[in-house]
């Protein structure tokens, strides 16, 4: 039986003969489908682990992708990093990762710094993407 479906190729690639990987989209292979995304800011005291919970409403454990941005770190630049992000600087230490269950997505941020000049707090921006695709099959 023929291969029925939907196929759109990249510019310059013959849609009838091109490889699947050179398709813009093909009904043969699904895309990850984003359900919810969000952004937030959290200040964490040195030595504390703060866990941010985000309700996703899916009723099952979804696939999640997250990013962290240390705003005022002495050692880590003000850029966005994929999570999990684990790094030890001369002064600042940051261990952050994300996980999900059937109810929430969680962003865990543990920071410890030995600075006596800038204080014990550090502030972070975080970004999350929650997909309807399952994290646990």
């Amino acid at each position: 039986m023929g291969d029925y479906g939907f196929r759109i190729s990249k510019a310059g690639v013959d849609v009838k003969t091109g490889a699947d990987k050179d398709m813009i989209i093909t009904s043969k292979y699904p895309n990850l489908k984003g359900s919810l995304s969000g952004f937030g800011t959290k200040t964490v005291i040195s030595g504390d682990t703060d866990i941010i919970a985000i309700a996703h409403g899916l009723g099952y454990t979804p696939f999640v992708k997250t990013f962290i941005n240390p705003i005022d770190s002495i050692d880590f630049p003000n850029v966005y990093n994929q999570m999990p992000f684990y790094s030890d600087g001369p002064t600042d230490h940051l261990y952050t990762f994300s996980y999900a269950d059937a109810t929430n997505v969680y962003i865990s941020i543990f920071q410890w710094n030995s600075s006596s000049i800038s204080g014990d707090n550090r502030t972070y921006n975080y970004k999350y993407f929650i997909f309807i695709d399952k994290g646990k099959l």
Binding site: I25, P30, K33
Partner: protein, 328 residues
């Protein structure tokens, strides 16, 4: 000249005027396609062993008298000075035992695979460690492709949570080669929540796309659009599913959900890649380890700002930058 093609916007966004990043699909941009998803498991090793070894570079044979190893077991190596070339020290590579006899063996990067061609005997004292179990997924794509790994729990911890590329406070050792990807679980895996002998479970998303270059292009940048309360859109179901009645999760594509549209991708020859989006984009990137021709997920080594994605060190690192904005 106008932009010919097809586009589908997210719900609530005008398809004619919305910014590129609010499109679910556009014939101008590629999307990330899931080749396959896998539910896999292995056990946390309950016993470990170690011993010293020598290697004959002319035959690729490792000698370690009475080693007790079996084909398919996973090893990592350390040295007091320099390992035999091209072996890499733990944790930069893991190797599988092949051609085992009572006192000798060879190694490969894949179970039952091609033996590593050893080119010198190294310097100093070398040790092997058997404290790791490996999961090998043979996708047979023939090229390096992006992947995601989700740790979903263990016998002791239960299976109620999923962790992206991590077990608490540690990145999961994982490697991608041209035809297979690998997850490695050592005796200390998830030690806070799990025990030796536990079965540990993973979900793996293996993507079809390669890292051939797509240069940045923009159609509409950073524009907002009028809202719409009507749910018009596009829906394509997976093979075997009725597009009118299937669950959203069984769709290949649906305008009800945002998509990871590719802005640009490729292999970075330097430590920065300019994305020219004017905001900080969603991205995925992997460290390329040339010696083993493989990719490793290493989040601490890559970051993004409003101009570039940045690698901690240069040298053929693989990346995909999406249209989604992450700074806000």
């Amino acid at each position: 000249m106008g932009d010919f093609g097809a586009a589908v916007s997210q719900k609530g966004y005008d398809v004619k005027t919305c910014a590129d990043r609010f499109l679910v699909y556009s014939s101008a941009f590629q999307t990330l396609k899931v080749f396959n998803t896998y539910s896999v498991s292995t056990t946390i090793p309950a016993t470990t062993s170690t011993a010293s070894f020598t290697v004959d570079a002319s035959t690729n044979v490792f000698t370690s008298v009475g080693h007790g190893l079996s084909n398919g077991q996973v090893l990592n190596f350390t040295s007091s000075d320099t390992l035999p070339s091209p072996l890499l020290e733990y944790p930069d590579a893991y190797y599988y035992v092949i051609s085992a006899t009572t006192d000798t063996f060879k190694v490969s990067l894949t179970a039952g695979g091609t033996e590593i061609d050893i080119t010198d005997a190294g310097v100093g004292t070398h040790d092997w460690y058997q404290d790791t179990n490996g999961i090998q997924i043979d996708h047979n794509l023939g090229y390096l492709a992006p992947f995601f790994i989700v740790y979903t729990g263990s016998t002791t911890a239960g299976r109620t949570k999923s962790y992206f590329f991590t077990v608490e406070n540690d990145t999961i050792p994982c490697f991608q080669y041209n035809n297979s990807m690998h997850i490695f679980v050592d005796d200390l895996f998830d030690s806070s929540n799990s025990s030796a002998g536990d079965t540990v479970y993973f979900t793996v998303y293996q993507f079809l796309d390669d890292f051939s270059t797509i240069s940045a292009q923009n159609i509409n940048t950073e524009l907002t659009s009028g809202s719409s309360s009507t749910d018009y859109g596009l829906r394509i179901s997976k093979a075997g599913y009725d597009v009118k009645t299937c669950a959203d999760i069984d769709c290949v594509l649906s305008s009800s959900f945002f998509n990871q549209i590719v802005h640009m991708k490729g292999i970075a020859l330097s430590s920065t890649v300019a994305h020219n989006l004017g905001y900080i984009p969603n991205f995925i990137a992997y460290e390329h380890i040339a010696t083993i021709s493989g990719l490793r997920y290493n989040a601490s080594f890559i970051s993004a700002d409003t101009t570039n994605i940045n690698f901690a060190w240069g040298g053929n690192n693989y990346y995909i930058i999406f249209k989604d904005k992450i700074n806000g």
